[in-house]
Symmetry: C3
Subunit: 345 residues, 3 copies
């Protein structure tokens, strides 16, 4: 197992070391679980009380913690960006990543009319249909399904058991996690003379570059045209993106959130876990929707929305405090009643 | 790429043409994104303001829009059912559907004791276990798993990476989207002398005809007997249907909604996105449950339920308006107090 | 089909028989659907009204129902634990379980450097990567993916199309249902100089013994260290467990619930359907969270939490009754106003 001195780590992080620089560190852990040969971190004064009881040998500190009282049984490294620094340290001790052999596994079923780039991995029992095009340096892991005429860019990682259906496109340097389904039919039906009629879903899903899609998330193909996930969008697990949705650059949808048909998220929007966005609405750039909220109407840029139906934070807090304010008001009314009764006597 | 004149399109739709009937159209788009060689539609007066700025060459109109002011740079086709008409036009320009070869891919693992009908597609790396029966004209796409003694009707489409577990049945002309899991064990446990004991789940899932099941949706097998999805039911993505649930004809469950054990939906019920239905309750025919609602008790036929716990729309609106009504009442009480104080002086 | 007399069933259950002990029973059903040759059960006085109209030949009763009025057209068997007894009877009539052949299917792709125990089933088109270790008597069903260096214990059942990613571990006698994804990357990003930067997720998921994981549920790998599911935990379908979560012994998470990063559930906690647990909080032993609730803050042992943000049951009920209490108060204020006006005249 790799090991480094506190001094070596501080140099790597370009951080300021306080205390014994000869400590030897062979792993990372949380403050709570760390032992003397592990490095941990404290990024927020709020958790300062966890510092004293921790057994961590070395602790990375953000600058706002630096001036707090620091127990002298530990070595500290003060960093400009403690989150980034800790990620670097994690990397030092991380096991090597899986190496995917750059060839086509003999059990994979690759259609002769598919086009496979250079340095591509196609895992065991993966399926690549006719007309699909796979860019250089891309990994199609075991059991993944790449449909007819699908186009995937370069350096993209498709994890095991992902499904990408006909004609959809995925850009460069994307990561699609296991169980994600790209391009199932949008949910569209209308009443017909003999019952419910399916509305054909003839569009595609277009995923641009540097997008990450979580495990078992589903992104439906458009009724026509495209459902469009733009560059740098990050989507967590078990999220639903309905047909004809547009998600603009660098927006995030957290686990189990959903967005209904034809709605659009601006740039840098954050939809927190389990929140739902109605169909045919616009969420402005930089808006934030709190977890479990239900957003029925469009939101302006920068809005913060919470609750169902979603309100401003102020409205939400006012609603929350209503029961206690009601009790106070009731008491006042009772007192008034007594006074009025005494006046009426 | 196919192209048609406005006249040809109007004839096909049996619609009434207004304006230049010679325009040539080669695709479909939304009002917002359309160009001069594309057809779009306006089905609702509410969106009338989108008409003027649109560059669409041809616009399909519903009859209620026909008498509104119409910019004369476009050709209009007035249709009885604009939704249906637009679907037909989409069909004109849609790329050809995937053609599944009607044979068994050499990498598929079909048990010799499975029975495969005529004109059946079994895709690459699909698995069909012993005793399974697949009806004529059905497609079992790549990577799908068809368990022991499963029965699937005719003309059904099982998308890639669907899982159907032992003894479950699927009717005719159904569509099961990728990642759907039919027949996992219901979630049943009881306290036992040495901890939690699993309650065996020995029933099946029965899916009748013309049912559509969304991507990554799960329908659990019954504890005994069957979980039953009746004809024409349409279920969206990431929905949970628990053991022993019955969903009657033509009901819909939208994305991320769920229904707990032994509950029953009547006919034509709509459960909107992210709503939850408690166990052991009945939802009457034609009832509608709003998105994100939590329904704890049975609902009568035709009910409209909203909120958690679900209320009538009137109750929900009353609850919504409570904060502003509270402020008004508080002001009145404050005024009363002053008056009473002046009387008491 | 198997059949048994009421007497034989009563003896097997060690229950007390009331009525005709010669009735012949060949199946199980609910009170509502049962016929004369079926056995049903009544475990709760609350459902006593279902007894008279039922056609069941034999009904299992819990002791609290025994002294209620019992229609004399049926045979009754009074049982100490009617739920357990009914499960035993279901077992009598259940179809035989699927038998998985104890070998490696020729279409499975098992890396030569994987270690496969004795009496193991590896289904068609399953994939087992380099360095994986599979314990004795374990079933890896068709289409499942077992990643590099994954370790799985003995007697565990991995259903078709499950995905377990590199280095994760699963204990003995676990059941993982179809579509579950174990060990996808946790959702971790931070703002960087050129946009969003992915935080490496280098830890694992550790699942201990006797754990059950529902269909299409996702459990993400830790940022470092492990996401930890301890013994006897039972997780339902479409649940999200985020990175670095710890779930202690015998806790349950019901369908579509979720728990955010670094939070911890105590022992014997129940998180009901669609509920969400915030990140970095602690839920005490034995706490119960109601369905659809959103828990923002830590809960003490034994807490019962309901609503969003979660409150005590008392607070929740107070909030629920607010609209009707408001109307009453408003009426009182109106009356007071009139009285004060009359005094001021």
């Amino acid at each position: 197992m790799a090991s480094y001195s506190a001094k070596e780590i501080a140099e790597m992080l370009k951080g300021t070391l306080k205390g014994d620089d000869s400590r030897v560190i062979s792993g990372v852990s949380s403050l709570k679980d760390a032992n003397e040969s592990q490095v941990s971190f404290l990024g927020n004064k709020k958790y300062h009380h966890q510092l004293a009881p921790s057994k961590a040998g070395v602790v990375l500190l953000s600058k706002d913690v630096e001036n707090e009282e620091l127990p002298n049984d530990k070595t500290y490294i003060v960093c400009d960006n403690v989150d980034l620094a800790f990620s670097q340290v994690i990397g030092l001790f991380a096991p090597p990543s899986v190496e995917y052999p750059r060839n086509i596994h003999p059990t994979a079923a690759v259609d002769p009319e598919a086009v496979i780039g250079k340095n591509v991995h196609v895992g065991a029992n993966a399926v690549i249909e006719k007309g699909a095009v796979i860019g250089d340096d891309t990994c199609i892991c075991a059991g993944a399904y790449i449909g007819h005429n699908v186009k995937i860019g370069c350096g993209t990682l498709i994890y095991p058991n992902v499904t990408i259906l006909a004609r959809c496109t995925v850009g460069n340097k994307c990561i699609l996690h296991s169980g994600a389904v790209i391009g199932a039919d949008g949910f569209g039906f209308m009443p017909g003379p003999q019952g419910i009629v399916k509305i054909p879903q003839t569009g595609i899903v277009q995923i641009d570059d540097d997008v990450e899609i979580g495990a078992n998330t589903t992104i439906d193909r458009a009724r026509f045209g495209k459902t469009w996930i733009k560059s740098n969008v990050k989507i967590d697990n078990l999220v639903v993106v309905a047909h004809n949705v547009v998600i603009n650059e660098s927006s995030m949808m957290i686990a189990q959130s959903g967005i209904a048909g034809s709605s659009e998220l601006g740039r840098g929007v954050i939809i927190a876990a389990q929140a739902g966005i109605n169909g045919h609405i616009q969420i402005g750039d930089g808006a934030k929707v709190a977890g479990t909220s239900g957003v029925a109407k469009s939101l302006p840029p920068g809005a913060i929305a919470i609750g169902t139906p979603a309100e401003t934070q102020r409205e939400f807090m006012a609603r929350l405090s209503l029961p206690s304010r009601f009790e106070k008001l009731k008491k006042q009314v009772d007192e008034l009643k007594q006074k009025v009764e005494s006046l009426l006597k």
